[in-house]
């Protein structure tokens, strides 16, 4: 169809432009922009990975950040004991998180709504407390790894860029697939989904493992860029920030996480720089406003405009 071809061409152009812009700092060697964009890409990746579980199935995961922490510790610990380059252990971070998710996911997903949320919150906090008591993880000090490798801004940037792009592509394919449809059906009405013959348990578990392992991937790369893994990685505040961004942008969509993450990031940064003492008060107010006024996220605002709707109907 002509309309479809036009949309794909538009999408392709947009992809090329965004890629060029986001890769620009690598070519200019401007470490300042690289650091800024890296943080944005990292946050975006976290939001995209959370979107897989929370956006598509509606299960609000307050323990997402725990997998990010596991990934970071996997990389840092393996680097510390083998003294090899940490990049070698990044796949281990993803696999490790996936295994843990497989283990706890099944029982966790047997509860719904706020019970799931609180249970995941409990697990996240329990993880932090346990790690802080472990001698081989250096208790509350964490594992600094600066002395084990030579930090390189370029590889750090390109690896996070690839992860963000990969997650975006993954979301694209899921959104357009039957699997994605199953997930969204679960979100809309889980009992109905079961009646329709969807194996909700397997479906939910698969996306939970996927979501958690990608969070582990981001955590592993972050430990490399921060040259440090510490209990602060298990921070509830980061988890809430990720959830807030996802809801702000619109869960279960392709562009929602991107719009949400970018807006949140820019707002938080601006507030911090301009209001060093009041920024959290203003931030709290903004969050309250968003939650009351933007029921389904910014992306859905686009749906309201007929012209844009045709363009973005399944973004």
């Amino acid at each position: 169809m002509a309309v479809d071809k036009g949309r794909y061409r538009l999408g392709l152009y947009a992809a090329i432009v965004v890629s060029a812009v986001s890769l620009l700092p690598m070519f200019t060697g401007d470490t300042s922009s690289m650091a800024y964009f890296w943080t944005l890409l990292q946050f975006l990746s976290l939001v995209l990975s959370l979107n897989l579980i929370t956006g598509f199935t509606g299960y609000i995961n307050f323990g997402h950040i725990a997998y990010y922490g596991y990934g970071a510790y996997t990389v840092a610990y393996l680097t510390t004991i083998t003294q090899l380059n940490p990049y070698l252990f990044v796949p281990a971070a993803a696999i490790g998180s996936a295994l843990i998710a497989l283990l706890v996911g099944k029982p966790l997903l047997s509860v719904r709504g706020p019970y799931f949320t609180i249970a995941t919150l409990g697990l996240g906090e329990a993880s932090r407390t346990i790690i802080v008591n472990l001698p081989f993880f250096n208790y509350s000090e964490g594992l600094p790894i600066a002395k084990f490798f030579k930090y390189d801004a370029f590889s750090s940037y390109i690896s996070m860029w690839l992860v963000a792009v990969g997650l975006f592509a993954l979301t694209f394919f899921i959104k357009r697939s039957r699997y994605g449809l199953m997930l969204e059906t679960i979100r809309e009405d889980e009992d109905l989904a079961e009646t329709m013959g969807i194996d909700t348990r397997r479906t939910k578990l698969a996306v939970y493992v996927l979501s958690s392992s990608t969070a582990g991937l981001v955590g592993g790369l972050t430990a490399i860029t921060y040259v440090y893994a510490h209990p602060g990685f298990f921070s509830i505040s980061i988890n809430v920030a990720v959830i807030a961004s996802l809801l702000l942008g619109g869960g279960g969509t392709l562009l929602g996480p991107v719009v949400g993450a970018t807006s949140y990031f820019i707002i938080a940064d601006t507030l911090l720089t301009r209001f060093p003492y009041l920024h959290l008060i203003i931030f709290g107010t903004i969050i309250m406003g968003i939650s009351l006024l933007l029921p389904r996220g910014l992306v859905y605002l686009m749906y309201k405009t007929p012209k844009l709707r045709g363009l973005f109907y399944d973004a």
Partner: protein, 284 residues
């Protein structure tokens, strides 16, 4: 490992007294969650706001905590009433995820207003920091007084929830909202008074917290997790359950801390929380 009987007895008493405070502190959270279905993430911030109000009354006007606590209840009840009028309808009709977000924003807002107005310094009320000996056990006077207040308030609540019309109506709404409507209960009104009482009790407990512990503007988060554990353990919306669960949690935490090490006791609390949720609410 220390196992003398005196020490164990002391541990149990400590846990019991602390747990009673956890229990009462959780009732407000349980009520609002059970009746309205709202998970109030700003619960800790509300507790601390009340602690600061009590502190200001004490430091500024010399108000003894025995008066501040009931006063805090009234302030909280009023706050809850207006909160429902302003936001209640909106919050109960949107997606649960959005109400979570809202309360998180509220928590940030309250905590930082206090921080900016009153500073980050640690505050405490140096009233009755004395110990009395009950046999081999040493008990803090301030904790005894707070327990007295806890017991009084709990008995009052218990009578309210079992003997009065509104109390029974609240229990009905928690049990089955649709059924309650069918029975002719004005659910909107029940929502209003539940929020009011919930905030009231929360502020009352915050006042008690100020009586027994030091605090800073950000201390609220530390109470939040225990509050959740207590609510879930006791059954969401179950006031008596919350209170008993609080005591249980307090005693267990105390025992773990003394028999093993206090460093891991939060993990014990959280894992208990998760296991209880999975066993009680999990679907096979």
């Amino acid at each position: 490992m220390v196992t003398s009987a005196d020490i164990i007895l002391q541990t149990l008493v400590n846990g019991f007294l602390m747990g009673a405070v956890y229990g009462v502190a959780a009732i407000g959270l349980s009520l609002v969650w059970g009746v309205l279905g709202l998970v109030n993430l700003s619960h800790g911030a509300l507790l601390i706001s009340a602690a600061y109000i009590t502190f200001i009354l004490y430091a500024g006007l010399g108000t003894p905590p025995l008066i501040s606590a009931p006063l805090a209840f009234l302030i909280g009840a009023a706050a809850g009433f207006f909160f429902y009028k302003l936001f209640g309808r909106r919050l109960t009709s949107t997606d649960p995820s959005y109400s979570l977000l809202f309360f998180f924003g509220l928590s940030l807002f309250l905590t930082n207003v206090i921080l900016n107005l009153l500073g980050p310094d640690v505050r405490g009320i140096p009233w009755l920091i004395e110990a009395t000996a009950l046999g081999p056990v040493s008990v803090s006077l301030s904790r005894l007084v707070s327990f007295g207040l806890v017991a009084t308030s709990f008995i009052t609540l218990y009578l309210f929830i079992t003997k009065t019309y509104h109390g029974k109506a609240i229990r009905a709404v928690v049990a089955n909202r649709l059924g309650a409507v069918t029975a002719g209960i004005d659910v909107q009104w029940i929502f209003t008074i539940s929020t009011s009482i919930g905030f009231g009790i929360t502020f009352f407990s915050g006042s008690l917290v100020a009586l027994v512990n030091p605090f800073t503007p950000t201390s609220g988060d530390g109470y939040l997790m225990y509050a959740f554990a207590t609510v879930v353990l006791g059954g969401v919306g179950n006031i008596v359950g919350a209170f008993l669960a609080g005591i249980l949690l307090g005693v267990v935490e105390s025992l773990v801390g003394v028999l093993f090490t206090q460093g891991v006791s939060p993990a014990v609390a959280f894992i208990t929380l998760v296991l209880v949720i999975l066993f009680r609410y999990g679907r096979r």
